[in-house]
Amino acid sequence: MDFTFNEEQLFFQQTVTDFLRDNVTAKHIRERWETATGFDSSTWDALAELGATATLIPEEMGGLGLGFDDVVLMIQACGQAALPEPIIDHSFIAAPLLAQIQQHTPSDQVAELLAAMATGESMVLTAPMINPYLNFADKAAYLLVQFGDDVHLINNRDAEFTSLVSVDRSRRLVTAKCRPNGSTCLTNGRLGSDMWQATLNRGALCNAAQLLGLAEALVQQAVKYACDREQFGKPIGANQAVKHLLADCAVNIEFAKPVVYRAAYTVNVAPNRADWAVSHAKVSATAAAQLAARHCIQVFGAMGYTWECDVHIWAKRVWALAQEWGDTGFHKNRIHEWLVQPKALLGPEFTFGRRNIRDVEQID
């Protein structure tokens, strides 16, 4: 039983955090809003250079062969920076799906694509049925599209995209129309539906980890403002009413962290048996981030309601990610369905699952 991160994992987090702090600031993000694509290739290339795009692809397929417990802190760091580029969707959602397909039904086409994904040269994103609006999908070279249980690999030029404008200007939403056929289908049936279930879990986990980072960044900004801004001759942060708003955010964040990290571990070990852990993570991180957005805007006062103040960069991302990869209702329902099953293994001895208990049959 060891619930700590190792030195390499912490080092990877630090490297990415340092890069993002210097290269993806609020100013840089606002500059992207003024461009047609909203996409900064140099940021993408630099993160690929750091290895982000290769992490979850097995070594024999040209990647680093790491797991979600190795990258969850990095995903959190991307949330902290409110990174616009869809590096997470590419590296931690699309890449493991494609790698899984390659494991079951190897093909040269997928092998080549995985190698190009690992270097960041080709962007691949997913189009699951749970997400009607796709972020940056029209910029991807390929899409992994869900039709029922099928996984289809669709070339960008074979899809028809319609743009929508997100409240979060960093997100570039589209809907995609495409015609799947036998030649685009990579996997189907039971295997396909298992893969989409695992993909949904990875997607919701990635959102949860980002939401955690977004919440932390929001609180940091509000704390700084509450220390600087003075009224009645003292910093507003000296008032208990303000302190307690932010303390409540801190409590939610502290208790969402281990939940998200446990989900990362579980997705790594068994992505198809991670529904409970992932749904818990998504619900907790969403609640923490939504409270942080709400309370931090309040701490900033009228400034918090302006376009000029940077808080909305983070708050709007929270509002968007909260609904993606299953909203709170979807995830609470998954937990509820499990809780009402008479066979559900409840109680403290099952916190880490059934495989931890030797005499599970004897129980009760």
């Binding site: 039983m1 220390c227 801190a250 281990p258 446990r262 937990i335 509820h336 809780l339 409840l346 001895e349």
Partner: protein, 388 residues
């Protein structure tokens, strides 16, 4: 990160489970806030001590097993799973014990820890005074040095377990010229000493769970001073750290309660009109598990050499509010039966247990530092907001 128990840890779990299966009393003991119940709980502590299960994390020489924190969590999980009696000596074993090990002399450890572990001596806390509640540094109760004795005068209040306990530990002002957190000393006082008057205070449930203690020229040996004279504040803070941080409320308690809540919900869900109940049940189960995960994470960190940090102040807010939510939800599920404290109905014991837990949950956000004080601590020490 490896979230799986080792074979040794699994064996340990089974060893506890087997022992508890044989020893936990078949019928629930009376409340330890009654004379009869206190005596029964004292006997249970002795039974635990005989099996060396009294305080598994303590060194073997003090009746423990030298267990690490993960093993302690496993012990607690099995303890609550078995429905074993609440720990009547929790002030002693969870708070004073660790403090004695850190700050006590060898003679003090030998004298007090052994008797505490064996269940022979029960402890009450003596922090608050009528004028020193959340503002504990306003303590006025005096301990004047007279030769090799202290002479204690003044009053303590809200002393949990003091009505039936044998000893009280607390903070006393040993330097009459001092103010605030200076000049305070941590002293252990026998409650049967001449000049001690204990006046019970009835709690919300009508039982004398805490008391006022009056000290009228009470003489105690200077050997009962823990740490140096005037160092009481920092020693007390280390006790408070244990209390808020890790040991006071182990997650298993809330996980077991939320499991019972799910069972109650399954039985009643077809009669529910309040749509928010389903959500509350899900939230309670998740939060209890989140508290467990957080504790495992902290235990892992401490075992790898880290120190407990200001983030531990978040714990007390989280579990005390969770406890209220679990019991409020149960009250909603029980409907009109929720208020019935005594009746001849066959399921009355179950109803009474929920009601008792509900009443007790009201105290959670108040004791061990109110949640308002905890929020101040989080804001100032974890987030870095200005004190004033």
């Amino acid at each position: 990160m490896e979230l799986i128990y080792t074979p040794q840890q699994q064996d340990f779990r089974m060893e506890i489970r087997d022992w508890l299966r044989e020893h936990v009393p078949a019928t629930k003991l009376a409340s330890f806030d009654t004379a009869e119940g206190f005596a029964a709980h004292r006997e249970w502590e002795k039974t635990l001590a005989k099996g060396n299960w009294g305080m598994v994390t303590w060194p073997k020489e003090f009746g423990g097993r030298g267990c690490d924190l993960i093993e302690w969590l496993i012990f607690e999980e099995e303890y609550y799973r078995a429905g074993a009696p609440l720990r009547v000596n929790q002030n002693g074993i969870f708070l004073l014990g660790p403090t004695l090990m850190e700050h006590g002399t060898e003679a003090q450890k030998a004298r007090f820890i052994t008797a505490m572990a064996s269940g022979d001596e029960m402890w009450a806390q003596g922090w608050s005074e009528p004028g020193a509640g959340s503002d504990m540094a306003a303590i006025r109760c005096r301990a004047d040095r007279d030769g090799d004795e202290y002479v204690i005068n003044g009053q303590k209040i809200w002393s949990t377990r003091a009505v039936f306990a044998d000893w009280v530990f607390g903070l006393f002002r040993s330097d009459p010229e001092s103010t605030r957190h200076h000049g305070l000393s941590f002293i252990l006082v026998p409650l049967n000493a001449p000049g001690v008057t204990v006046r019970p205070i009835e709690q919300l449930n009508g039982l004398p769970g805490f008391a006022e203690i009056f000290f009228d020229n009470v003489r105690v040996s200077a050997d009962n001073l823990l740490g140096g004279e005037g160092e009481g504040w920092s020693i007390a803070m280390s006790t408070a750290g244990f209390e808020r941080g890790l040991m006071l409320r182990s997650p298993a308690r809330f996980q077991q309660a939320s499991k019972r809540l799910v069972e109650l919900y399954r039985a009643k869900r077809n009669d529910i009109l309040d749509l928010s109940i389903e959500d509350s049940v899900v939230q309670c189960y998740m939060d209890a598990e989140a508290y467990a995960l957080s504790t495992y994470q902290t235990a892992s960190r401490l075992q790898s050499g880290a120190k407990i940090g200001p983030e531990s102040s978040c714990n007390k807010i989280f579990w005390s509010e969770l406890d209220i939510k679990i019991h409020e939800t149960a009250m909603s599920l029980l409907g009109p039966r929720a208020e019935v404290e005594h009746s001849d109905e066959p399921d009355q014991a179950m109803i009474a247990a929920w009601l008792d837990g509900f009443l007790f949950s009201q105290s959670g956000p108040i004791y061990a530092g109110t949640n308002e004080i905890q929020r101040n601590i989080i804001a100032e020490r974890l987030l870095g907001l200005p004190r004033r």
